[in-house]
Every structure is written in structure tokens, then in C-alpha cells.
Amino acid sequence: MTIELTAEGPGPERLWRDALAAGRFTLPHCAACGRHHFFPRVLCPHCGARTTSLRPASGRGTVHSTTVLRRRPEEGGDLNIALIDLAEGARMMSRVDGMAPTAVTIGLAVEARIVTEDGAPVVVFVAGEGA
């Protein structure tokens, strides 16, 4: 379901979070240049026109880069942090779950999952079909 963005009322970030809380991962899309971007914002960073809508994301992506933040067990242990190139052409920070943090490699095909952490919905990725 596409969410139209307007100049009044809740802004793109709020609407993106509301959609995520309802279980829908969306991406901002600009009709003027036909491109997606991330993070959600009022003006398209590619062309400067008003961002038109939040479109359902395919959820498919590829690991662009990855690191393992080394933490002591009492701090939660090693943590994967990754940048994901989404099939729609935007990039976001996330992490890859379902495998050892050190096993995540650049180029790995991944797909999105919505999980709840600290009471808020968060987009993470698992190995999958990819972009």
C-alpha cells in the first residue's frame, strides 16, 4: 500500500515509522525523478522536488559493507553493523541477523525482517534472495 505524502499533517519520518509499526517496510519515492531514497524526508535528495510517497519496499538487498562492533558479553556481545544496498536503489544502515556477526560478508544477498527492540519496530536483514 502506497502512502501519499502531503505538505500538511504528519511528515515523512512520522508516516514511515507509523507504517513500520503496522508491519510495513516502505521507502520514500519521488515521482519527479522516479527514484527512491532513504532516509524519509520532505524534499527528494536527488532532484529537490517534493517526495511524493512511501512505497512498499521489496525488502531485498545486498550487503554493501559490514563491521563487527566488538563488545564484552555483558555489553551484549559482538554486534554486526551493515550498510545495505536495497533493490530499489537506496542504502540504509542495518544489521544482518541469523548468522555469526563475523560471517556477514560484502555482497551477501539479504532480505528484510521487522523486529521489535526496546519497544520499537526495527528493520533488520537475514540472508535471502537479495537484490
Binding site: F38, F39, S65, T67, R70
Partner: protein, 383 residues
Amino acid sequence: MAHTLRGSAAIVGAGQAGIGEAPGRSHFDLIADATHAALAEAGLKLSDVDGVFSATMVNSMPAVSVAEYLGLRPKVTEGTNTGGSSFLAHMQWAALALQAGLCEVALITYGSNQKTGAGKFVTTSEVVPFEAPYKPRYPVSAYALAAARHMHEFGTTREQLAEVAVAARTWANLNPEAYARGPLTIEDVLKSRMLSDPLTVRDCCLVTDGAGAIVMVRAERAKDFPKAPVYLLGVAAENWHRWVSSMPDLTTSSASRSGPRAMEMAGVGHADLDLVMLYDAFTITPIMFLEDLGFCPKGEGGRFVGDGKLRHGGGFPLNTNGGGLSCVHPGMYGLFLLIEAVRQLRGECGARQLDAPKLALCHGNGGHWSSQVTAVLGLEETL
């Protein structure tokens, strides 16, 4: 025709204070200590300062707070914070303000007591909405992501990263002011504690106290001061993003634009430079900046440094104070690049002194590869 800013202003005083550890001294104390040293070199009084340029890690209105602490009522108060590059950008604004007659004596200063005051690397408390859920540790995770990508795309190795830290140490070992001295090997770097793959604690800059200050005046009066003036020949600033998830290309920073612009303003080429001072927050940063600034082709930075040319006596004088990796890194380091360049150009560097350098390129980095500012400094004969 030369740019009107080229050579229009000069540094006539430079001072440092509290390099390493300064227990019991606040960041304002250290700023005042460095300011006092810089003004004393120039033979100026504090009351001569009518332009204050500063950014700090802790003040929401840094230049205003610094001016208050120093008891100044400046005509120009400029506190733009672009991160560690701020002080190179401040030189640009100071040169403009001096040229326009808005002020006569510009003070650019920075200080932090984060080693003994806070006991850890002080960084922003700003919540980054689309990165915070993934709990990155700033700034190391942002630089680790770029380093990992650089290794993937270009075959850069951890040994080549480590070489940057080892080379910095060879210079620090000749600098009595440097905080980290003593032997350091590639093996030491590789075997030290991993923080955020592929960067170990020895791939990361120091956490120290320290303050710096420089004093600038218009070129027309620069020769009236005790020390040889160091002229600002070129300066350019760029920024393409703030947080690493919005960085357009993880292996190319906007130094690829600021560098050519600053060198064009200065009218100098790479072969003309006697000293290169690159912000080395992490071992990957000089490697990428050497590429972005055109000292080697994109992707070749690891191999460029891998032969040891950055070490003392290696033929490519880089970060001769020991850099942020081995000399000093009190949160934001940009000002210390400039002070080392001034001291080298004046011939004040003792055992690490280069042979009569005339031209230096300084490159400052702010945020997460975000703000890039390049400046070219030179002696009178380069005007």
C-alpha cells in the same frame, strides 16, 4: 588571475598547551594557555584580539563561551562546528573577515580535557534516527565500514592500514611533545584489541587532552611580527553528507573536491609540496585522503603507503608530529595539523625537522568523512 584570498592573510603566532594529559585543567584553561602562547609568539596582547573563531566538543555556543572566558569583546565571533575540520574552515572565514576589515587580529582556538576530564572519547550525544537502532559506536564504526569496503574494492590489507600507525610512531618518537612514543610494529597493531573490524585500537587515534591556538593578521602587516609569517595560499571546504549511511561513496570523500580547489587557489601542484598533514583519526583516513587529494590513484592508497614511504626518512613527509595516531587527539584534531605545519615551515621542529620546507598541505576531516577542508600554507617566498 590569482584568487583574492590567496596570500591575503598569514599566521603570525601558534601555540599549544596540555598536549597529552593536563589533569585538573578545564578545556577553557587549556584554550587560554594555548592562546597565551600564540599571542606571546606574535608579541600581541590579548586585548588586540578582535576576532574569535572556535569550536569545542562541549559548548553549544563555543566561540561566545571562549570569548567570555578570555574576557574579550570581539567584533567577529565565529563558532561553526564542522567537526575536526572546523579550524581549517575557520581560517577561511578569518581570512575573509580580515580582508573585509571586519577584524584586525583573528584568534582560532580549540581545547579539550577529554583524557583526564572525561576519561573517554567525548563524542556527540545527538541521536541519529536512522542509525541509532543498530547501535554503532561513533566514530569508529563509521570508519570501519569504509575501511572494510576499501579492502573489498581495492584489496587494501590490514598490514597496509597498520603501516600508517607504524609510520606515525616513527615521527612521534622524534617529537618530545608526542603522547604515544616507543616502538610499534605492524604485528603490534594487528594483534591489538579489535574494536570494530577491521580496525583495532592501534588503528584508532589517541584520546588525549590538548589545546591549540593560532593568530592571523592581514598579509600587509604580517612581516611586522617576530616570527616568519606563514601565509594562507589556498583553502576549500566541502561536505556531501553527515552520517555514514548517507555517504554517497564509502571509498571517496569530498576531499576529492576540496583538495583540487584549495590547490588551484594556491596555484601549486603535488610536486611543489614539502609537507603533507592529513587528519589521521584512523589508519584508513590518510590512505583515502592520499587518493582523494591526488597523491596516488583511487584504490592505490594501501599500496602507496605499504612500502614505508610515510615513515621518518621514507621520502614522503606526512604527519611529522606523529599525528592523531601517536601525538595528540583531544576530540578534534584539525588545529594541530596547522600548528605542526607552521612549526615545520619556520624550522622549529628539532629532530624531526624537514630540510627547509616552504609549502605544506593540511587536510582536515570532520564527522564521519563528512566535512572535508583542505588548506595550503606557505612561506613568503611562495607568495
